[in-house]
Protein backbone atom coordinates (compact mmCIF):
# COMPACT_ATOMS: atom_id res chain seq x y z
CA UNK A 1 0.00 0.00 0.00
CA UNK A 2 1.45 3.41 -0.89
CA UNK A 3 2.11 6.01 1.72
CA UNK A 4 -1.07 8.04 2.06
CA UNK A 5 -1.41 10.70 -0.59
CA UNK A 6 -4.28 13.15 -0.54
CA UNK A 7 -2.89 15.53 -3.14
CA UNK A 8 -4.09 16.34 -5.66
CA UNK A 9 -7.41 16.64 -3.87
CA UNK A 10 -10.56 15.58 -5.61
CA UNK A 11 -13.83 17.44 -5.12
CA UNK A 12 -17.47 16.77 -5.78
CA UNK A 13 -18.80 19.86 -7.51
CA UNK A 14 -22.36 18.85 -8.40
CA UNK A 15 -24.94 16.14 -7.84
CA UNK A 16 -28.36 15.19 -9.13
CA UNK A 17 -30.90 12.43 -8.53
CA UNK A 18 -34.29 11.36 -9.72
CA UNK A 19 -36.78 10.49 -7.04
CA UNK A 20 -36.57 6.72 -6.52
CA UNK A 21 -39.81 4.97 -7.42
CA UNK A 22 -41.20 1.50 -7.77
CA UNK A 23 -41.58 2.12 -11.47
CA UNK A 24 -40.86 4.67 -14.16
CA UNK A 25 -42.78 3.36 -17.12
CA UNK A 26 -42.53 6.64 -18.99
CA UNK A 27 -38.76 7.01 -18.74
CA UNK A 28 -36.08 4.55 -19.72
CA UNK A 29 -32.74 4.38 -17.96
CA UNK A 30 -31.21 6.90 -20.36
CA UNK A 31 -33.81 9.52 -19.60
CA UNK A 32 -33.68 8.93 -15.85
CA UNK A 33 -29.93 9.56 -15.90
CA UNK A 34 -30.39 12.57 -18.14
CA UNK A 35 -32.72 14.16 -15.60
CA UNK A 36 -30.26 13.57 -12.77
CA UNK A 37 -27.46 14.90 -14.99
CA UNK A 38 -29.37 18.06 -15.88
CA UNK A 39 -30.07 18.62 -12.20
CA UNK A 40 -26.34 18.36 -11.50
CA UNK A 41 -25.36 20.61 -14.41
CA UNK A 42 -27.81 23.26 -13.23
CA UNK A 43 -25.62 23.62 -10.12
CA UNK A 44 -22.53 24.44 -12.14
CA UNK A 45 -23.59 26.79 -14.94
CA UNK A 46 -20.01 27.69 -15.76
CA UNK A 47 -19.19 24.06 -16.54
CA UNK A 48 -19.71 23.84 -20.30
CA UNK A 49 -19.75 20.36 -21.90
CA UNK A 50 -16.29 20.83 -23.45
CA UNK A 51 -14.87 21.05 -19.92
CA UNK A 52 -16.04 17.54 -19.08
CA UNK A 53 -13.24 15.06 -19.73
CA UNK A 54 -15.17 11.81 -19.47
CA UNK A 55 -17.54 9.65 -17.49
CA UNK A 56 -17.89 6.47 -15.47
CA UNK A 57 -21.21 4.67 -15.43
CA UNK A 58 -22.71 2.03 -13.19
CA UNK A 59 -25.54 -0.45 -13.21
CA UNK A 60 -25.82 -3.86 -11.65
CA UNK A 61 -26.93 -6.40 -14.19
CA UNK A 62 -27.67 -7.05 -17.84
CA UNK A 63 -30.63 -9.03 -16.53
CA UNK A 64 -32.43 -6.06 -15.02
CA UNK A 65 -31.49 -3.74 -17.85
CA UNK A 66 -32.56 -6.09 -20.69
CA UNK A 67 -29.76 -4.47 -22.61
CA UNK A 68 -26.08 -5.32 -22.68
CA UNK A 69 -23.44 -2.56 -22.71
CA UNK A 70 -26.22 -0.22 -21.52
CA UNK A 71 -23.84 2.36 -20.03
CA UNK A 72 -22.72 3.29 -23.53
CA UNK A 73 -26.31 4.25 -24.36
CA UNK A 74 -26.29 6.65 -21.43
CA UNK A 75 -22.93 8.14 -22.44
CA UNK A 76 -24.53 8.71 -25.85
CA UNK A 77 -27.79 10.11 -24.50
CA UNK A 78 -25.98 12.62 -22.28
CA UNK A 79 -24.13 13.90 -25.34
CA UNK A 80 -20.79 12.79 -23.89
CA UNK A 81 -19.48 10.94 -26.96
CA UNK A 82 -16.61 10.71 -27.98
CA UNK A 83 -15.24 11.26 -24.46
CA UNK A 84 -13.74 8.42 -22.38
CA UNK A 85 -16.20 6.19 -20.57
CA UNK A 86 -16.58 2.78 -18.95
CA UNK A 87 -18.94 0.85 -16.76
CA UNK A 88 -18.26 -0.21 -13.18
CA UNK A 89 -20.04 -3.14 -11.53
CA UNK A 90 -19.83 -4.74 -8.14
CA UNK A 91 -23.27 -6.00 -7.13
CA UNK A 92 -24.97 -3.77 -4.58
CA UNK A 93 -21.79 -1.73 -4.18
CA UNK A 94 -21.83 -0.76 -7.86
CA UNK A 95 -22.65 2.90 -7.19
CA UNK A 96 -20.03 3.30 -4.48
CA UNK A 97 -17.40 1.70 -6.69
CA UNK A 98 -18.41 4.00 -9.54
CA UNK A 99 -17.93 7.05 -7.32
CA UNK A 100 -14.48 5.84 -6.30
CA UNK A 101 -13.60 5.12 -9.94
CA UNK A 102 -14.42 8.70 -10.83
CA UNK A 103 -12.20 9.71 -7.91
CA UNK A 104 -9.39 7.60 -9.40
CA UNK A 105 -9.87 9.13 -12.85
CA UNK A 106 -9.35 12.59 -11.37
CA UNK A 107 -6.73 11.71 -8.72
CA UNK A 108 -4.63 9.95 -11.36
CA UNK A 109 -4.41 13.21 -13.26
CA UNK A 110 -6.13 11.68 -16.26
CA UNK A 111 -9.22 13.84 -16.02
CA UNK A 112 -9.92 17.24 -14.53
CA UNK A 113 -13.69 16.80 -14.56
CA UNK A 114 -15.36 13.39 -14.51
CA UNK A 115 -19.07 12.53 -14.47
CA UNK A 116 -20.16 9.50 -12.43
CA UNK A 117 -23.61 8.26 -13.40
CA UNK A 118 -25.60 5.29 -12.16
CA UNK A 119 -29.02 3.81 -12.68
CA UNK A 120 -31.17 0.74 -12.39
CA UNK A 121 -34.53 -0.16 -13.88
CA UNK A 122 -35.82 -2.97 -11.68
CA UNK A 123 -39.48 -2.67 -12.64
CA UNK A 124 -39.28 -4.57 -15.93
CA UNK A 125 -39.68 -7.89 -14.09
CA UNK A 126 -41.79 -8.84 -11.10
CA UNK A 127 -40.39 -8.61 -7.57
CA UNK A 128 -39.72 -12.33 -7.22
CA UNK A 129 -37.98 -12.56 -10.56
CA UNK A 130 -35.96 -9.56 -9.43
CA UNK A 131 -35.04 -11.42 -6.26
CA UNK A 132 -34.03 -14.35 -8.43
CA UNK A 133 -31.71 -12.13 -10.51
CA UNK A 134 -30.12 -10.86 -7.33
CA UNK A 135 -29.70 -14.43 -6.12
CA UNK A 136 -27.91 -15.26 -9.38
CA UNK A 137 -25.26 -12.96 -7.93
CA UNK A 138 -24.53 -15.68 -5.40
CA UNK A 139 -22.66 -18.85 -6.39
CA UNK A 140 -24.87 -20.47 -9.03
CA UNK A 141 -23.42 -23.93 -8.43
CA UNK A 142 -23.51 -24.06 -4.64
CA UNK A 143 -25.80 -21.34 -3.29
CA UNK A 144 -28.47 -20.40 -5.80
CA UNK A 145 -29.96 -23.89 -6.34
CA UNK A 146 -30.50 -24.42 -2.61
CA UNK A 147 -33.16 -21.72 -2.68
CA UNK A 148 -31.16 -18.70 -3.70
CA UNK A 149 -32.51 -15.69 -1.87
CA UNK A 150 -30.41 -12.91 -0.46
CA UNK A 151 -32.84 -12.13 2.32
CA UNK A 152 -32.33 -15.72 3.45
CA UNK A 153 -28.56 -15.24 3.44
CA UNK A 154 -28.79 -12.05 5.51
CA UNK A 155 -31.23 -13.73 7.86
CA UNK A 156 -28.64 -16.42 8.52
CA UNK A 157 -25.96 -13.80 9.05
CA UNK A 158 -27.95 -11.87 11.62
CA UNK A 159 -29.14 -15.08 13.29
CA UNK A 160 -25.51 -15.79 14.04
CA UNK A 161 -24.99 -12.18 15.14
CA UNK A 162 -27.88 -12.60 17.58
CA UNK A 163 -26.32 -15.82 18.82
CA UNK A 164 -22.86 -14.34 19.31
CA UNK A 165 -23.85 -10.98 20.74
CA UNK A 166 -27.43 -11.08 21.91
CA UNK A 167 -28.67 -8.70 19.24
CA UNK A 168 -32.47 -8.64 19.10
CA UNK A 169 -35.07 -8.38 16.37
CA UNK A 170 -36.47 -5.35 18.21
CA UNK A 171 -33.14 -3.57 17.90
CA UNK A 172 -33.25 -4.28 14.17
CA UNK A 173 -36.78 -2.91 14.02
CA UNK A 174 -35.52 0.35 15.51
CA UNK A 175 -33.39 0.84 12.40
CA UNK A 176 -36.51 0.46 10.28
CA UNK A 177 -38.45 2.94 12.42
CA UNK A 178 -35.59 5.44 12.21
CA UNK A 179 -34.96 5.26 8.48
CA UNK A 180 -38.58 5.21 7.39
CA UNK A 181 -39.33 8.20 9.63
CA UNK A 182 -36.31 10.17 8.39
CA UNK A 183 -37.59 9.67 4.85
CA UNK A 184 -40.79 11.55 5.73
CA UNK A 185 -38.74 14.69 5.23
CA UNK A 186 -37.00 13.57 2.04
CA UNK A 187 -39.07 14.19 -1.10
CA UNK A 188 -36.81 11.88 -3.15
CA UNK A 189 -37.63 8.85 -0.98
CA UNK A 190 -39.77 5.98 -2.21
CA UNK A 191 -41.24 4.69 1.05
CA UNK A 192 -41.46 7.34 3.79
CA UNK A 193 -43.51 5.97 6.66
CA UNK A 194 -44.11 6.40 10.36
CA UNK A 195 -43.70 3.00 12.00
CA UNK A 196 -43.52 1.37 15.40
CA UNK A 197 -41.27 -1.50 16.44
CA UNK A 198 -44.41 -3.57 16.77
CA UNK A 199 -45.46 -2.84 13.19
CA UNK A 200 -42.05 -3.84 11.86
CA UNK A 201 -42.09 -7.09 13.79
CA UNK A 202 -45.65 -7.98 12.84
CA UNK A 203 -45.32 -7.28 9.15
CA UNK A 204 -44.97 -10.25 6.78
CA UNK A 205 -42.15 -12.59 7.73
CA UNK A 206 -39.84 -13.00 4.73
CA UNK A 207 -36.90 -14.96 6.12
CA UNK A 208 -36.88 -15.33 9.85
CA UNK A 209 -36.05 -12.96 11.62
CA UNK A 210 -36.32 -10.46 8.73
CA UNK A 211 -39.78 -9.10 7.99
CA UNK A 212 -40.93 -7.14 4.95
CA UNK A 213 -40.13 -3.91 6.89
CA UNK A 214 -36.57 -5.02 7.63
CA UNK A 215 -35.79 -5.12 3.92
CA UNK A 216 -35.28 -2.47 1.28
CA UNK A 217 -37.38 -2.50 -1.84
CA UNK A 218 -36.61 -2.62 -5.56
CA UNK A 219 -36.64 0.65 -7.41
CA UNK A 220 -36.15 2.55 -10.61
CA UNK A 221 -33.91 5.56 -10.36
CA UNK A 222 -30.72 7.34 -11.31
CA UNK A 223 -28.07 9.52 -9.73
CA UNK A 224 -25.17 11.61 -11.01
CA UNK A 225 -22.11 13.12 -9.32
CA UNK A 226 -19.57 15.40 -10.96
CA UNK A 227 -16.03 15.22 -9.61
CA UNK A 228 -13.20 17.62 -10.32
CA UNK A 229 -9.63 18.41 -9.44
CA UNK A 230 -8.79 21.42 -7.30
CA UNK A 231 -8.34 23.85 -10.15
CA UNK A 232 -11.58 22.90 -11.85
CA UNK A 233 -13.45 22.82 -8.55
CA UNK A 234 -12.37 26.39 -7.93
CA UNK A 235 -13.27 27.41 -11.43
CA UNK A 236 -16.62 25.68 -11.88
CA UNK A 237 -17.86 24.69 -8.44
CA UNK A 238 -20.02 26.91 -6.32
CA UNK A 239 -19.65 25.04 -3.05
CA UNK A 240 -17.39 22.05 -3.69
CA UNK A 241 -16.95 19.26 -1.16
CA UNK A 242 -13.62 17.45 -0.81
CA UNK A 243 -13.30 13.68 -1.04
CA UNK A 244 -10.65 12.93 1.54
CA UNK A 245 -10.77 9.19 1.96
CA UNK A 246 -11.59 6.23 -0.26
CA UNK A 247 -11.41 2.62 0.81
CA UNK A 248 -12.89 -0.62 -0.32
CA UNK A 249 -12.86 -4.28 0.57
CA UNK A 250 -14.12 -7.66 -0.55
CA UNK A 251 -15.00 -11.09 0.75
CA UNK A 252 -15.61 -14.61 -0.50
CA UNK A 253 -18.65 -15.12 -2.68
CA UNK A 254 -20.01 -17.95 -0.53
CA UNK A 255 -20.84 -17.16 3.08
CA UNK A 256 -19.92 -20.77 3.80
CA UNK A 257 -16.29 -19.93 2.98
CA UNK A 258 -15.82 -17.05 5.39
CA UNK A 259 -12.77 -17.70 7.53
CA UNK A 260 -12.36 -17.42 11.27
CA UNK A 261 -9.48 -15.21 12.26
CA UNK A 262 -8.64 -12.03 14.08
CA UNK A 263 -10.37 -8.68 13.80
CA UNK A 264 -8.36 -6.12 11.78
CA UNK A 265 -8.19 -3.34 14.38
CA UNK A 266 -8.96 0.32 13.93
CA UNK A 267 -6.73 2.83 15.76
CA UNK A 268 -9.13 3.18 18.70
CA UNK A 269 -9.53 -0.57 19.22
CA UNK A 270 -7.39 -3.12 21.05
CA UNK A 271 -6.83 -6.81 20.44
CA UNK A 272 -8.11 -7.48 23.95
CA UNK A 273 -11.52 -6.20 22.89
CA UNK A 274 -11.98 -9.26 20.74
CA UNK A 275 -10.04 -11.96 22.51
CA UNK A 276 -12.75 -14.57 22.04
CA UNK A 277 -14.29 -13.44 18.78
CA UNK A 278 -13.87 -15.59 15.69
CA UNK A 279 -13.93 -13.12 12.86
CA UNK A 280 -15.68 -12.46 10.54
CA UNK A 281 -17.58 -15.75 10.49
CA UNK A 282 -20.89 -15.01 8.90
CA UNK A 283 -21.88 -12.39 11.47
CA UNK A 284 -19.66 -9.53 10.28
CA UNK A 285 -18.45 -7.95 7.07
CA UNK A 286 -14.69 -8.20 6.80
CA UNK A 287 -14.79 -6.25 3.53
CA UNK A 288 -16.54 -3.39 5.33
CA UNK A 289 -13.88 -3.27 8.00
CA UNK A 290 -11.16 -3.27 5.31
CA UNK A 291 -12.92 -0.45 3.44
CA UNK A 292 -13.27 1.62 6.62
CA UNK A 293 -9.66 1.04 7.64
CA UNK A 294 -8.35 2.21 4.25
CA UNK A 295 -10.65 5.22 4.06
CA UNK A 296 -9.90 6.29 7.64
CA UNK A 297 -6.16 6.00 7.00
CA UNK A 298 -6.40 8.20 3.94
CA UNK A 299 -8.65 10.73 5.67
CA UNK A 300 -6.66 10.68 8.90
CA UNK A 301 -9.57 9.51 11.04
CA UNK A 302 -8.65 7.72 14.27
CA UNK A 303 -11.85 8.07 16.31
CA UNK A 304 -14.71 7.67 13.82
CA UNK A 305 -17.56 8.20 16.28
CA UNK A 306 -16.15 11.57 17.29
CA UNK A 307 -14.73 12.65 13.97
CA UNK A 308 -17.70 11.98 11.71
CA UNK A 309 -20.84 14.12 11.67
CA UNK A 310 -23.17 11.79 9.80
CA UNK A 311 -23.18 8.57 7.82
CA UNK A 312 -25.16 7.35 4.82
CA UNK A 313 -24.73 3.59 4.83
CA UNK A 314 -26.04 0.64 2.87
CA UNK A 315 -29.02 -0.55 4.93
CA UNK A 316 -30.40 -3.08 2.45
CA UNK A 317 -31.46 -4.87 5.66
CA UNK A 318 -31.95 -3.45 9.13
CA UNK A 319 -29.54 -6.13 10.29
CA UNK A 320 -26.77 -5.00 7.98
CA UNK A 321 -27.06 -1.45 9.29
CA UNK A 322 -26.36 -2.78 12.78
CA UNK A 323 -23.52 -4.97 11.56
CA UNK A 324 -22.09 -2.00 9.69
CA UNK A 325 -21.97 0.23 12.82
CA UNK A 326 -19.46 -2.31 14.07
CA UNK A 327 -17.48 -2.65 10.85
CA UNK A 328 -17.10 1.12 10.78
CA UNK A 329 -15.92 1.15 14.37
CA UNK A 330 -18.74 3.34 15.68
CA UNK A 331 -18.99 0.83 18.49
CA UNK A 332 -17.25 -2.43 19.26
CA UNK A 333 -18.20 -5.64 17.49
CA UNK A 334 -21.25 -6.96 19.28
CA UNK A 335 -22.48 -3.58 20.46
CA UNK A 336 -24.36 -2.58 17.32
CA UNK A 337 -27.77 -3.50 18.72
CA UNK A 338 -27.20 -1.43 21.81
CA UNK A 339 -25.84 1.42 19.68
CA UNK A 340 -29.18 1.87 17.96
CA UNK A 341 -31.17 1.10 21.12
CA UNK A 342 -29.38 3.94 22.88
CA UNK A 343 -30.44 6.28 20.08
CA UNK A 344 -27.00 7.27 18.79
CA UNK A 345 -27.78 6.96 15.04
CA UNK A 346 -31.13 8.78 15.27
CA UNK A 347 -31.63 12.44 14.44
CA UNK A 348 -32.16 14.47 17.58
CA UNK A 349 -34.79 16.74 16.07
CA UNK A 350 -37.12 14.12 14.62
CA UNK A 351 -39.91 12.60 16.69
CA UNK A 352 -39.81 8.84 16.22
CA UNK A 353 -42.38 8.07 18.92
CA UNK A 354 -39.57 6.48 20.91
CA UNK A 355 -37.78 7.25 24.16
CA UNK A 356 -34.11 7.38 23.30
CA UNK A 357 -31.28 7.84 25.80
CA UNK A 358 -28.77 9.54 23.51
CA UNK A 359 -30.31 10.61 20.24
CA UNK A 360 -28.18 12.18 17.56
CA UNK A 361 -24.66 11.25 18.62
CA UNK A 362 -23.90 10.33 15.02
CA UNK A 363 -26.91 10.34 12.69
CA UNK A 364 -26.92 7.34 10.36
CA UNK A 365 -29.01 7.45 7.20
CA UNK A 366 -30.62 10.81 7.83
CA UNK A 367 -31.93 10.53 4.25
CA UNK A 368 -33.89 7.39 5.09
CA UNK A 369 -31.30 5.06 3.62
CA UNK A 370 -32.04 2.26 1.21
CA UNK A 371 -34.84 1.00 3.45
CA UNK A 372 -36.96 4.07 2.82
CA UNK A 373 -35.38 5.80 -0.20
CA UNK A 374 -35.28 2.67 -2.32
CA UNK A 375 -32.40 0.80 -3.91
CA UNK A 376 -32.02 1.11 -7.69
CA UNK A 377 -28.72 -0.68 -7.42
CA UNK A 378 -26.42 1.19 -9.80
CA UNK A 379 -27.72 4.55 -8.54
CA UNK A 380 -27.75 3.87 -4.81
CA UNK A 381 -24.12 4.54 -3.94
CA UNK A 382 -24.20 7.76 -5.94
CA UNK A 383 -27.44 8.84 -4.29
CA UNK A 384 -25.64 8.55 -0.96
CA UNK A 385 -22.92 10.84 -2.30
CA UNK A 386 -25.51 13.39 -3.39
CA UNK A 387 -27.19 13.36 0.04
CA UNK A 388 -23.81 13.66 1.76
CA UNK A 389 -22.87 16.50 -0.56
CA UNK A 390 -26.02 18.41 0.38
CA UNK A 391 -25.45 17.76 4.08
CA UNK A 392 -21.90 19.13 3.89
CA UNK A 393 -22.98 22.12 1.81
CA UNK A 394 -25.77 22.78 4.31
CA UNK A 395 -28.14 22.78 1.34
CA UNK A 396 -30.65 20.16 2.52
CA UNK A 397 -33.37 22.78 2.85
CA UNK A 398 -32.75 24.03 -0.67
CA UNK A 399 -33.05 20.54 -2.14
CA UNK A 400 -35.59 18.93 0.17
CA UNK A 401 -37.77 21.97 0.88
CA UNK A 402 -37.57 21.21 4.62
CA UNK A 403 -34.46 21.46 6.74
CA UNK A 404 -35.47 18.71 9.16
CA UNK A 405 -32.80 16.32 7.91
CA UNK A 406 -30.00 18.88 7.90
CA UNK A 407 -27.27 17.79 10.31
CA UNK A 408 -26.17 21.09 11.74
CA UNK A 409 -22.63 22.18 11.22
CA UNK A 410 -21.81 18.95 9.41
CA UNK A 411 -18.13 19.06 8.49
CA UNK A 412 -17.34 15.48 7.63
CA UNK A 413 -19.52 12.64 6.44
CA UNK A 414 -19.10 9.04 5.42
CA UNK A 415 -20.85 7.07 2.67
CA UNK A 416 -20.84 3.29 2.49
CA UNK A 417 -21.92 0.96 -0.29
CA UNK A 418 -22.23 -2.82 0.00
CA UNK A 419 -22.72 -5.85 -2.27
CA UNK A 420 -24.39 -9.16 -1.44
CA UNK A 421 -23.28 -10.62 1.93
CA UNK A 422 -20.38 -8.15 1.91
CA UNK A 423 -18.59 -9.33 -1.24
CA UNK A 424 -17.71 -5.77 -2.22
CA UNK A 425 -17.87 -2.81 0.16
CA UNK A 426 -16.80 0.81 -0.27
CA UNK A 427 -16.31 3.57 2.28
CA UNK A 428 -15.76 7.16 1.19
CA UNK A 429 -15.14 10.17 3.42
CA UNK A 430 -16.30 13.60 2.29
CA UNK A 431 -15.47 16.92 3.94
CA UNK A 432 -16.22 20.59 3.82
CA UNK A 433 -12.94 22.00 2.50
Amino acid sequence: MPSIKTDPRVYMIAGGITPFKKRYDDKDFRLMVKEAYDMALAEVPRLTPDRIDGAVGSYFSDHFTRQLKAASMVQDYLGLCPKPSKRIEGGGATGGLCFQSAWEAVASGRMSVCVAFGFETMSRVNTWKGNEFIALASDTNFDFPVGGFYTGYYAMMVRRHMHEFGTTAEQMALVSVKNHANALYNPFAQKPRRLTVQEVRSSLMVADPLTMLDICTMSDGAAVCILADEKSAERFGRDPIAITGVGSGSDTMRMADRPHGKVPLLPHERAADYRHLKYPGVHSFRGGRMAAKLAYEMAGITRPLEELDFIELHDAYTSSEIQTYEDLGLCKYGEGGKFVEDGHPFLSNVDYGLKLANPGTLPVNPSGGLLACGHPVGATGLMQAVFAYWQLQGSIKKHMKKETLQVWNAKRGLIHSHAGTGTYITVTVMEKP
Binding site: A135, G147, T151, M156, T252, D257, P259
Partner: protein, 159 residues
Protein backbone atom coordinates in the same frame (compact mmCIF):
# COMPACT_ATOMS: atom_id res chain seq x y z
CA UNK B 1 -35.87 -12.51 -48.26
CA UNK B 2 -38.17 -13.08 -45.35
CA UNK B 3 -39.39 -9.97 -43.68
CA UNK B 4 -39.62 -10.92 -40.06
CA UNK B 5 -40.30 -13.90 -37.87
CA UNK B 6 -43.79 -15.04 -37.12
CA UNK B 7 -43.03 -14.94 -33.43
CA UNK B 8 -42.78 -11.16 -33.37
CA UNK B 9 -46.27 -10.69 -34.76
CA UNK B 10 -47.66 -12.26 -31.61
CA UNK B 11 -46.56 -9.44 -29.33
CA UNK B 12 -48.58 -9.13 -26.14
CA UNK B 13 -49.34 -5.54 -25.17
CA UNK B 14 -49.41 -4.54 -21.49
CA UNK B 15 -49.99 -0.86 -22.03
CA UNK B 16 -50.39 1.80 -24.70
CA UNK B 17 -49.21 5.06 -23.18
CA UNK B 18 -46.37 4.43 -22.71
CA UNK B 19 -46.23 1.39 -24.97
CA UNK B 20 -45.43 -1.68 -22.89
CA UNK B 21 -44.88 -5.10 -24.41
CA UNK B 22 -44.28 -8.62 -23.17
CA UNK B 23 -40.72 -9.50 -24.06
CA UNK B 24 -39.54 -12.99 -23.14
CA UNK B 25 -35.94 -14.17 -23.37
CA UNK B 26 -34.59 -17.68 -23.02
CA UNK B 27 -31.12 -19.12 -22.83
CA UNK B 28 -30.11 -22.78 -22.72
CA UNK B 29 -26.70 -23.27 -21.16
CA UNK B 30 -24.44 -26.25 -21.55
CA UNK B 31 -23.09 -25.81 -18.06
CA UNK B 32 -19.91 -27.56 -16.97
CA UNK B 33 -19.09 -28.09 -13.30
CA UNK B 34 -15.48 -28.18 -14.54
CA UNK B 35 -12.99 -28.72 -11.71
CA UNK B 36 -15.83 -29.10 -9.18
CA UNK B 37 -17.31 -32.10 -11.04
CA UNK B 38 -16.08 -34.73 -8.54
CA UNK B 39 -18.16 -33.07 -5.82
CA UNK B 40 -21.37 -33.42 -7.83
CA UNK B 41 -20.48 -36.94 -8.94
CA UNK B 42 -19.78 -37.70 -5.26
CA UNK B 43 -23.29 -36.70 -4.25
CA UNK B 44 -24.70 -39.38 -6.54
CA UNK B 45 -22.67 -41.92 -4.56
CA UNK B 46 -23.67 -40.60 -1.18
CA UNK B 47 -20.36 -38.83 -0.58
CA UNK B 48 -19.75 -35.30 0.64
CA UNK B 49 -16.41 -34.29 -0.83
CA UNK B 50 -14.60 -31.27 0.50
CA UNK B 51 -11.16 -29.90 -0.32
CA UNK B 52 -8.02 -30.31 1.73
CA UNK B 53 -4.87 -28.23 1.53
CA UNK B 54 -1.96 -30.41 2.61
CA UNK B 55 0.31 -27.40 3.08
CA UNK B 56 -2.04 -25.37 5.28
CA UNK B 57 -3.70 -28.45 6.80
CA UNK B 58 -7.07 -26.90 6.25
CA UNK B 59 -10.20 -28.65 5.02
CA UNK B 60 -12.88 -26.75 3.17
CA UNK B 61 -16.42 -28.11 3.40
CA UNK B 62 -17.60 -26.45 0.18
CA UNK B 63 -15.05 -27.49 -2.40
CA UNK B 64 -12.45 -25.16 -3.85
CA UNK B 65 -9.73 -26.64 -5.98
CA UNK B 66 -7.26 -24.05 -4.77
CA UNK B 67 -6.57 -22.97 -1.20
CA UNK B 68 -7.35 -19.32 -0.49
CA UNK B 69 -4.58 -19.14 2.07
CA UNK B 70 -1.56 -20.40 0.16
CA UNK B 71 -2.89 -20.49 -3.40
CA UNK B 72 -1.90 -24.15 -3.81
CA UNK B 73 -3.96 -26.94 -5.32
CA UNK B 74 -6.19 -28.80 -2.88
CA UNK B 75 -6.98 -32.51 -2.77
CA UNK B 76 -10.41 -34.06 -2.53
CA UNK B 77 -11.29 -35.31 0.94
CA UNK B 78 -14.55 -36.70 2.24
CA UNK B 79 -15.97 -34.60 5.05
CA UNK B 80 -18.17 -35.97 7.86
CA UNK B 81 -21.77 -36.65 6.99
CA UNK B 82 -22.83 -35.29 10.33
CA UNK B 83 -22.44 -31.78 11.59
CA UNK B 84 -24.06 -29.03 13.58
CA UNK B 85 -26.11 -26.02 12.55
CA UNK B 86 -23.95 -22.89 12.53
CA UNK B 87 -26.88 -20.68 11.62
CA UNK B 88 -30.26 -21.00 9.93
CA UNK B 89 -33.38 -19.30 8.65
CA UNK B 90 -36.81 -20.18 7.35
CA UNK B 91 -37.62 -18.58 4.00
CA UNK B 92 -41.30 -17.77 3.54
CA UNK B 93 -40.59 -16.05 0.21
CA UNK B 94 -37.82 -16.47 -2.31
CA UNK B 95 -36.66 -15.96 -5.85
CA UNK B 96 -39.26 -16.85 -8.46
CA UNK B 97 -37.64 -20.23 -9.15
CA UNK B 98 -38.21 -21.27 -5.55
CA UNK B 99 -41.46 -19.55 -4.63
CA UNK B 100 -43.45 -22.77 -4.94
CA UNK B 101 -41.12 -24.49 -2.48
CA UNK B 102 -41.65 -22.03 0.37
CA UNK B 103 -41.45 -22.19 3.29
CA UNK B 104 -38.07 -23.88 3.39
CA UNK B 105 -35.28 -23.92 5.95
CA UNK B 106 -31.74 -22.93 5.00
CA UNK B 107 -28.84 -23.98 7.22
CA UNK B 108 -25.11 -23.41 7.23
CA UNK B 109 -23.65 -26.65 8.57
CA UNK B 110 -20.36 -26.85 10.50
CA UNK B 111 -18.31 -30.06 10.62
CA UNK B 112 -15.77 -31.29 13.15
CA UNK B 113 -12.24 -30.61 11.94
CA UNK B 114 -13.41 -28.63 8.92
CA UNK B 115 -12.65 -24.92 8.60
CA UNK B 116 -15.54 -23.77 6.42
CA UNK B 117 -19.29 -24.38 6.26
CA UNK B 118 -21.78 -25.88 3.85
CA UNK B 119 -25.07 -24.31 2.75
CA UNK B 120 -27.99 -26.69 2.48
CA UNK B 121 -31.65 -27.23 3.20
CA UNK B 122 -32.91 -28.72 6.42
CA UNK B 123 -35.75 -31.21 6.01
CA UNK B 124 -37.77 -32.96 8.68
CA UNK B 125 -37.86 -30.20 11.26
CA UNK B 126 -40.37 -27.48 11.95
CA UNK B 127 -39.01 -23.90 11.87
CA UNK B 128 -39.50 -23.48 15.62
CA UNK B 129 -37.49 -26.62 16.37
CA UNK B 130 -34.29 -25.45 14.68
CA UNK B 131 -31.43 -24.30 16.91
CA UNK B 132 -27.84 -23.22 16.45
CA UNK B 133 -25.72 -26.19 17.51
CA UNK B 134 -28.37 -28.74 16.59
CA UNK B 135 -26.91 -31.97 15.23
CA UNK B 136 -27.80 -32.80 11.67
CA UNK B 137 -26.98 -35.55 9.19
CA UNK B 138 -26.61 -35.48 5.42
CA UNK B 139 -29.13 -37.30 3.23
CA UNK B 140 -28.63 -37.99 -0.44
CA UNK B 141 -31.09 -38.26 -3.29
CA UNK B 142 -31.54 -41.67 -4.84
CA UNK B 143 -32.65 -39.97 -8.07
CA UNK B 144 -29.91 -37.43 -8.52
CA UNK B 145 -30.49 -34.19 -10.38
CA UNK B 146 -26.76 -33.38 -10.54
CA UNK B 147 -27.39 -30.23 -8.55
CA UNK B 148 -26.15 -29.33 -5.10
CA UNK B 149 -29.68 -30.13 -3.90
CA UNK B 150 -28.83 -33.83 -4.30
CA UNK B 151 -27.73 -33.50 -0.67
CA UNK B 152 -29.74 -32.07 2.20
CA UNK B 153 -29.67 -32.36 5.97
CA UNK B 154 -32.07 -33.77 8.53
CA UNK B 155 -32.02 -33.67 12.31
CA UNK B 156 -29.78 -36.44 13.60
CA UNK B 157 -31.90 -39.38 14.65
CA UNK B 158 -32.32 -39.58 18.40
CA UNK B 159 -30.53 -42.65 19.71
Amino acid sequence: MKRRSRKSSETVLYGLDPLIIRDPYEIVYRHSYAQDSPFFAGLTKGKLLGSHCPKCRVTYATPRSHCYRCGGATKWRAIPKQGTIHTYTTCYYGGEAFLDETPFILVLVAFEGVETLFLSRLIGARPEEVRIGMEVAARFSSTPSFRVTDVWFEPKARP
